[in-house]
């Protein structure tokens, strides 16, 4: 019991950038990070769903985090990446981000502030806020991001 408690006190996040803001994605959900590549458009989908890519023989749906979060459309730059996440409920999804910065380890008790939020709120994708070296990282709730609202 003791060990499990200690282990759960910290969590690792991958820090990504979207526009001017920093977001953190729980590393346990991340399957892979790949460079931007050609995305095959799938017709009749929501705007934020960009299409599908081939990831080593698997066809993976790709979404634009910017569009999903109501930011202006992506400008594809050299630093853009696709983060492949695996979610229990939604399967594997690729999410386009502007840049991948670093991996941080946050102490859940001292460095993370949980945010109480309304589950039905359409625009809330944030689970909490992490404080790291003076900066703030918004911690993404991936299930809320993937959910269709």
């Amino acid at each position: 019991m003791e060990e499990i408690r200690i282990a759960s006190e910290t969590a690792q996040y991958i820090v990504i950038r979207l526009g001017q803001e920093q977001y953190g994605i729980d590393i346990r959900y991340i399957d892979n990070i790949v460079r931007m590549q050609h995305i095959t458009r799938v017709p009749k989908l929501a705007e934020y769903l960009k299409g599908v890519i081939n990831l080593r023989g698997e066809v993976i749906p790709i979404m634009s985090l910017r569009l999903k979060m109501g930011l202006p459309a992506d400008e594809v730059t050299k630093s853009a990446r696709i983060i492949i996440v695996k979610l229990e409920q939604y399967g594997t999804i690729g999410m386009i981000v502007d840049e991948v910065r670093e991996v941080v380890t946050l102490d859940l008790e001292t460095q993370v502030e949980k945010m109480a939020y309304d589950k039905d709120d359409k625009n809330n994708f944030i689970q909490g806020v992490g404080k790291y070296e003076g900066g703030l990282i918004s911690l993404l709730d991936l299930n809320a991001v993937a959910q269709e609202k």
Binding site: L45, N54, G57, V59
Partner: protein, 710 residues
């Protein structure tokens, strides 16, 4: 012991045995004297019992044990097969299926003891006792006559019991057999028996009783019951103790001689099964030369030997040798299939690369590579075919249960009917076979209930009294066709129309203009039923729409042909495989799409001025038929790369009886493509796309769903 790892095998084999029993008992009904069938039934019941025992499913074991007893008597010729017996046996099979289903779902056989069934089985056995002795045959019956009331001689000892008795004798204890007869006037036989048991247990230990302690407790015995007990007390003392119980008419007891006692079939069996079935045996074994480890090892394999053994029995019975097969987890085959798919993709990219270099080099010095690539192509195609074949199973496994179903329906609906099946050996992909059972069952029930008329009506119409239903399966090119046909009433389109109007699904005006075909299609609407009354069998309006959606989910089609008064035919057409198809690659607005070659009729070059407007929709005239045009660029929200005045390439696609022309920009040729899911997240979100595939250059192309587009 932990048997959970054998659960899968157990379930598989149980299902097989049950199916086998169903088929054989049906045969027995037709030909009650066929020894081969009887032997086969006995073996299957026997294996089932062994397996259930091994896995610790006591209730299942008890039921199969009693069934086996009945079969054993049938085999000995001391019971004749009767109609009511067949019914009981079928009920037993249903009960066993229920156990199996429970085990499959909950890992537990459930709590239904099925006592009425067991009682009926025992009744059959009792009947035999009378008949058997009169006829002078029936091994078991004889001792009863000779033993002048010493019925314990009839008790069958299994090896464990025998061992315990031997052990006791070694220790100088006495082993007695006793038969106790209760007074005829006794009201609470079970209570008396209980007192007898109690009295005896004060003196020693009861090893076996006949009938079993459970049966005695439930009062399932006539007037007498027998015991075998181990005690240190004298015979007289035992008799006295038992006689002390009131309402006991007589007691007979004697020391027994092991050699006189018979070992039942089961105990010979138990020699093989004992490690698992009788843990006590294990203990005594361990005491002798056999080490526990050695006992453990065979134990681990008991699930398998059960099967092996039945195979061995089969051979010794002079039956044809069993197929040489390996049972493989379908997941392993899926992995293999995926790898083959990858290989095909890799091969495709090699082909693409070689073509590209060929263009650069002007075709020189390439023939060597080309040859190799062609060779690779043929190998991958063969490999693909072989893997596909491995996944193919005969539809037999599904259709086998139908004769039984029709038999039950005959009784339930009180209509005479006969099911004729052909092509059971036709093979389909395993995944398809698993799904096809329910739709077929619906169609058969439908034919039996709605299709076939009652005997009187049939007589009036001059049809044979017994209705016929046919189930025919055959391969047709890249499809498998399954037809369900009956010589019944056919579909009454007028009545369908009326029903649809009543339900407000169509207006009377619409009804006037509907073709026969369109009316029949109404049947496939959800919750549509023309049955005047809702029966247990069908008529609840769930069915045909489910059939249709299930078949379409398997990329198949359903078609109906019907002639009023003569019967109807339901035709199901299924693709042989779901994973890899031949497709035509097209380009629309710079994007690549695949269209399944199976649905493509022709490809036409159409001039813009040939397009006509009908009800404001674009159509073309083609060899006498009017075909609506579907501009894929509009459907797919892209802009065509062709100018409006240019000629158009139109792909004529046929799905079912609907035809349409797809307007595309470019044709890219035919290709073998591997169908992939687009991922859980967006699968099914776009109706027009049925899946994706990965092209030779690693890019993803989408597969158009011609059905949805038309």
């Amino acid at each position: 012991m932990d048997v959970s790892q054998y659960l899968e095998i157990f379930l598989d084999e149980t299902t097989e045995h049950l199916q086998n029993l169903n088929t054989q008992i049906l045969e027995l009904e037709q030909d009650s004297e066929n020894m081969d069938t009887i032997n086969e039934i006995f073996r299957a019941a026997h294996s089932l019992k062994g397996m259930a025992g091994t896995m610790g499913y006591k209730r299942m074991q008890t039921l199969t044990h009693d069934m086996e007893n009945v079969f054993s008597e049938v085999r000995n010729g001391s019971i004749k097969v009767k109609a009511n017996m067949i019914d009981i046996l079928f009920q037993c099979l249903d009960a066993l299926e229920e156990y199996t289903a429970n085990i499959r779902e909950a890992g537990d056989e459930g709590t239904n003891d099925n006592e009425p069934l067991i009682k009926m089985l025992n009744d059959i056995l009792k009947e035999k006792a009378g008949e058997g002795s009169a006829a002078g045959k029936g091994e078991q019956a004889k001792p009863a006559d000779e033993s002048d009331g010493r019925k314990w001689l009839e008790i069958n000892l299994n090896s464990t019991d025998k061992m315990v008795i031997g052990e006791a004798q070694k220790q100088g204890k006495m082993v007695y057999g006793a038969t106790i007869k209760v007074q005829e006037s006794c009201l609470l036989k079970a209570a008396r028996a209980f007192l007898v048991f109690k009295a005896v247990e004060e003196l020693g230990e009861i090893i076996v009783s006949s009938p079993s302690a459970q049966d005695i407790e439930d009062e399932r015995f006539d007037l007498d019951f027998s015991l075998i007990l181990i005690t240190e007390a004298s015979v007289d003392k035992v008799i006295a103790a038992i006689s002390n119980v009131s309402e006991i008419e007589s007691v007979k007891a004697e020391a027994i001689d092991l050699s006189v006692m018979k070992l039942d079939d089961e105990s010979r069996e138990a020699e093989e099964h004992k490690e698992s079935m009788h843990k006590e045996a294990e203990k005594s074994d361990a005491g002798t030369a056999v080490t526990p480890a050695a006992v453990q090892a065979p134990q681990a394999q008991t699930a398998a030997p059960a099967a092996k053994q039945s195979a061995a029995v089969k051979q010794s019975g002079g039956k044809p040798v069993v197929n040489r097969t390996v049972r493989v987890d379908i997941e392993k085959l899926d992995v293999l299939m995926n790898l083959v798919s990858e290989l095909i993709i890799a091969k495709n990219s090699l082909v693409a690369a070689s073509e590209a270099t060929m263009v650069q080099n002007g075709g020189a010095a390439q023939s060597g590579i080309n040859e190799q690539i062609e060779y690779l192509e043929s190998v991958t195609t063969n490999l693909h075919e072989s893997v596909m074949k491995v996944r193919m199973v005969p539809i037999e496994s599904v259709v086998n249960k139908f004769p039984r179903m029709i038999r039950d329906l005959t009784k339930k609906l009180d209509k005479k009917m006969e099911l004729y099946m052909s092509g059971e050996e036709t093979e389909l992909d395993r995944t398809v076979v698993d799904e096809i059972g329910d739709p077929l069952m619906h169609l058969l029930r439908n034919s039996a209930d709605h299709g076939l008329e009652s005997a009187e009506v049939r007589a009036q119409r001059g049809k044979p009294e017994v209705g016929s239903i046919w189930l025919d399966a055959y391969q047709d090119g890249n499809n498998v066709v399954i037809e369900v046909r009956d010589d019944g009433n056919g579909i009454d389109t007028e009545s369908v129309k009326r029903k649809a109007i009543e339900r407000g699904q169509i207006t009377p005006e619409q009804a006037l203009n509907m073709s026969e075909k369109e009316i029949i299609d109404l049947l496939f609407l959800p919750s549509f039923s023309t049955a005047e009354k809702v029966t247990d069998v069908s008529g609840r309006g769930v069915g045909l729409d489910v059939v249709k959606s299930k078949i379409e989910a398997l990329s198949g089609e359903v078609e109906v042909k019907s002639r009023l008064g003569e019967g109807s035919t339901w035709i199901i057409r299924l693709p042989l495989t779901l994973a890899i198809i031949q497709a035509l690659m097209v380009e629309v607005g710079g994007e690549k799409y695949a269209i399944s070659l199976g649905s493509i009729q022709t490809i036409e070059d159409v001039m813009p001025e040939d397009i006509k407007l009908v009800q404001n929709k674009e159509v073309i005239h083609l060899r006498g038929s009017v075909i609506p045009l579907i501009r894929l660029d509009k459907e797919l929200d892209v802009t065509s790369t062709r100018k409006p005045e240019e000629n158009m390439t139109v792909i004529i696609v046929k799905k079912g009886d609907k035809t349409a022309g797809f307007v595309v920009d470019e044709l890219q040729g035919q290709q073998e493509i591997v169908i992939k899911s687009m991922g859980k997240y967006i699968d099914n979100k776009c109706r027009l796309i049925s899946g994706a595939t990965i092209l030779g250059d690693g890019e993803v192309a989408l597969i158009l769903d011609a059905n949805a587009l038309i």
